[in-house]
């Protein structure tokens, strides 16, 4: 003979006796404790699935890092006389859609950075008179001297485009990414 286990009776959520429950609850009893238990188990399964998703994301990043980036070859950008002091110029380096910006800060002072804001990739605009690069999307600001973030949401500095001046021509020779 099975012992009647009171634990497994239907328990109304308000805790009142069956006689005090509305008619519909007496007609359609639901095992609320069991329902809660099952709901927690299902949620735990879902969280483990999310955990798998995170691990897959980590794997993707690891794979991308192992594949590596193709090395950049030097590319001529502009003649030194073609850009005035305080002027700027956009160009693509190392590939077609890698937008960059070159700024001539002084007679022999050229700086270039990737134009993609490190926040959400909006194109940054040079402001040579203020000594900054400004992102219009969320008001991010970078120091024109070294590309480091000065204000707004960006946290990472802009990648530096390494330059060389040979025979009166400014060349882009490499990309230097930084985390700080």
């Amino acid at each position: 003979m099975q012992r009647h286990d009171h634990e497994f009776e239907s328990v109304p959520p308000d805790g009142r006796p069956d006689a005090a429950q509305p008619r519909w609850r007496r007609d359609f009893p639901i095992d609320w404790p069991k329902d809660e238990l099952i709901a927690r188990r299902d949620f735990t399964r879902f969280m483990v699935l999310t955990s798998l998703g995170f691990t897959v994301g980590q794997g993707w990043i690891a794979l991308q890092s192992l594949l590596g980036h193709p090395s950049a070859t030097a590319k001529p950008i502009v003649a030194v006389e073609g850009i005035p002091v305080g002027g700027s110029l956009t160009f693509d380096f190392p590939h077609e859609h890698d937008n960059c910006v070159l700024v001539r800060r002084g007679r022999n002072d050229f700086v270039a950075y990737s134009q993609k804001c490190t926040h959400l990739s909006c194109p940054v605009q040079p402001r040579p008179k203020e000594g900054t690069l400004h992102c219009p999307c969320h008001n991010g600001t970078f120091d024109l001297a070294d590309g480091r973030p000065l204000g707004g949401p960006p946290r990472r500095p802009l990648p530096i485009i390494e330059l060389e001046v040979r025979d009166g021509i400014v060349y882009a020779t490499g990309v230097k990414e930084r985390t700080s």
Binding site: E7, F8, I61, L66
Partner: protein
């Protein structure tokens, strides 16, 4: 005799505890993912493999806890 090794309220507490641990591991994995992505975008690829291993350990712990839950 009841077939259940635990009472209903005990089961709820156990499941709730396991869920709490799983949630904490998930938060850890989320932080790990964002930190790794930030480093990778900044050109630092040295942490990608260690981060993947750490995330894998978290996943194994989560799966183990889920199996324990299922076996009960």
């Amino acid at each position: 005799m009841s077939d259940h090794p635990h009472t209903r309220s005990q089961s709820k507490v156990i499941v709730g505890g396991i869920l709490g641990v799983v949630l904490m591991l998930n938060v850890l994995q989320l932080w790990l993912l964002t930190a790794t992505m930030n480093a990778y975008l900044g050109g630092d690829t040295s942490i990608t493999i260690p981060a993947l291993l750490a995330s894998g350990v978290c996943l194994l712990l989560n799966v183990g806890l889920l199996r324990y839950l299922r076996d009960r």
